[in-house]
Subunit: 216 residues, 2 copies
């Protein structure tokens, strides 16, 4: 049931909202594998993730048949398959720009490496920062960004600069051939259509929760 069916739809036709949920499936399945759980039903996964079983089945159906009727999903094979779809079976070098408090927290975060990402180069525009080291990386001047990205085949950038420098940083990343930007600055970036941007936006997250608060 696994190998004889390809993806049900061409890649471009999978809704982005489904793609965004796949990392959660990977994380959940990995935690099951770590606990030696070899199979799981869509109901069990749904309970762990907090979505409906129907949604999980619908999401996974985009990629072919992953489960056997009545037997649930093989956790190891499913995590491998989704990781393959997301291209996580390799290590991706990442360029980080902006080494203030936030940038340093990102540079020191230990969760990226086991998740397929390595902070490979760090940049700042502040001459006081340039030349300092963060972990094992020397902070480079931001003007070196395009060249370093091309030389080191870096296609992913993280922007942790102040708001006012976010767009010019994105422009330098585009010059360097960036294809994916994780943006911590509260700015909507203008980039070519070929570049995917995700925002890390704690203010918007907080502001969308107060709506639900009962002030009584």
């Amino acid at each position: 049931m696994w190998d004889d069916e390809g993806p049900s739809v061409p890649p471009g036709d999978i809704p982005d909202i489904v793609i965004r949920r796949l990392p959660i499936y990977v994380r959940t399945l990995k935690s099951l594998c770590d606990r030696q759980v070899g199979s799981a039903s869509s109901e069990q996964l749904a309970e762990m993730i907090g979505v409906t079983a129907a949604q999980i089945r619908r999401d996974l159906s985009y990629f072919g048949k992953f489960g056997k009727q009545g037997k649930g999903y093989d956790t190891h094979r499913l995590v491998e398959a989704i990781s393959g779809i997301l291209k996580l079976n390799r290590q991706w070098p990442v360029a980080l720009v902006g080494l203030g408090n936030l940038g340093r927290a990102i540079a020191n975060y230990r969760g990226f490496t086991p998740s397929s990402f390595t902070i490979a180069a760090v940049f700042d525009r502040n001459s006081g920062q340039i030349g300092q080291t963060v972990g094992e990386l020397k902070i480079l001047p931001v003007d070196d960004l395009p060249t370093t990205m091309r030389d080191e085949h870096i296609r992913i950038g993280i922007i942790a600069t102040p708001k006012v420098h976010a767009q010019e940083t994105a422009d330098l990343m585009v010059k360097g051939g960036v294809q994916a930007i994780l943006n911590y600055a509260p700015v909507i970036l203008k980039v070519p259509d070929s570049v995917t941007v995700r925002e890390i936006d704690p203010v918007s997250a907080l502001q969308s929760m107060t709506y639900y608060i009962d002030e009584g």
Copy 2:
């Protein structure tokens, strides 16, 4: 056209995905107000935000009529109206737990205060941290969390602890009467239905972008 129509649907019936977009409208409209732009069409807003004009009109229609045919939206009134809907016309105190690199970056972030949130109390479980100050706040032992939250009417919590302590922190927040949690730990929290949780999850964001990268 503004005052004579109430919300089109009861609050509980507005899809969460719409609620999540409202802060982006607020931010965009505020930037227009700052630039003395008094009105904007859905097309202009759409261009700034990167969604379709139809989506903006559809989103805003949940809350009544905000625009005049052919005249666009009054930016000042619309930002006031959406801020009111999201309950942002006040300052919300927030409890922050976990004062590592990330927690300190959050505590020092200047973007919360102008956006209606004040970090009002900070907690850690590490005795080496307790009693230190971050900005003007003294770090309190995490066991004080429920009492402090109740005493200071704090209904919002931010979890910036290591993964292993995230659930127990959430449990303490629930004891303190939390209604909204912003969770930076890569863990899916179990909380009562009355609590809204949003995740800040840079790893998932990165993992959902590699899908689109052209490795060629």
